[in-house]
Symmetry: C2
Subunit: 193 residues, 2 copies
Amino acid sequence: MTELLTRNILNHITLSNKKLENFCNLFNNKEVLKKHFLLREGEICKFEGFVTKGLFRVYHIDSNGFEQVLYFAQESWWITDIDSFTNEKPSQLYIQALEDSEVLLISKKDKEFAYNNIPKIEKLFRVMTQKTHIALQRRIIDNLSKTADQRYIDFIEKYPNLFQRLTNVQIAAYLGISHEFLSKIRRKIASKK
Amino acid sequence: MTELLTRNILNHITLSNKKLENFCNLFNNKEVLKKHFLLREGEICKFEGFVTKGLFRVYHIDSNGFEQVLYFAQESWWITDIDSFTNEKPSQLYIQALEDSEVLLISKKDKEFAYNNIPKIEKLFRVMTQKTHIALQRRIIDNLSKTADQRYIDFIEKYPNLFQRLTNVQIAAYLGISHEFLSKIRRKIASKK
DNA sequence: ACAAAACATTGAACTAGTTCAATAAATGAA
DNA sequence: TTCATTTATTGAACTAGTTCAATGTTTTGT
């Protein structure tokens, strides 16, 4: 059950089998059915999660009622509201399963325990946060400099499998455009081929 | 000379005076005159820096020749290209002083040394990276959901002192709009008061 | 297998933001 | 002080993206 997780950890750091097992034992498995929520706006995010099956969307609803997708999380992705989790304040985000999913959850207390007892875990999360950080910077630049057409093409190239599992409404919410406009972009691209 | 730095560190973690001093001694002071560069596209970023005086812009030039500002760094801000620095690959960013500035620099080797010999430093950078991460997420959501008017108003409220030190060209490059349009936004806001 | 709901496409009218060119004001270097 | 450069403002024409409403298609729940 924690096989994907151990593989993911060893991708970032080296760790003895025993410590790896100790750390993995801090996680609890949870099933989340399609359309069900792992987190809702206003709640305090009590977990950090690792997706072992299925697909989630992490999104925000703005003051006009529009949904913005911050990111999608499929198998081997981590999900949490880092702001809510770290600072124990109400979340501004929703985390919802887009397919029947399973996720391994660790609590704040257990994560702190791991930080204090397995120093390499501090490194693991520093390295992972850094990678996410790089990806976020990249996305800000892309959002500022690229046209919606190009961002859509980039998305398909970068996440071909996500692209197949998502509706255009979801992709448009990630790209920051209306789904009608995405539809027009798709037509334009299709006619060029 | 490292007073701002020690204060900044103690804002994030607790650390004995001796370890604090050891860590601070790993930094070298560097003067960067207005318009001079700390980093250029294509170079490998060899440092992580802490600004003690002045103001920098961290920006990218896209394929159409437009400049996008990723962030500004004034006193007590950290600057680096984390992607280039961490992965030792050519940078896509420019870091330029907008005023006569001073910055404390630490090399990758010395930072690794600190990670290995002062465990709290690992925590320091994890905590800081996490905070930046939260801010970047916030910015992505704002860029997707807010109109340029609102982003400009938010910027002024959030960074009133930066606002005074920056030209409209720089602010527009941060907001992701043309400086002409920013000028029109300013007129509109002014006429409403 | 059926009805209801969610999804995708399209066109027409609209709006936010760009581009280009002209002009004035502020700043900087010698 | 002066000349050159950067900065800010403005208007007019344009373009990328939105909004709304209509229509057909697919998926879902029962």
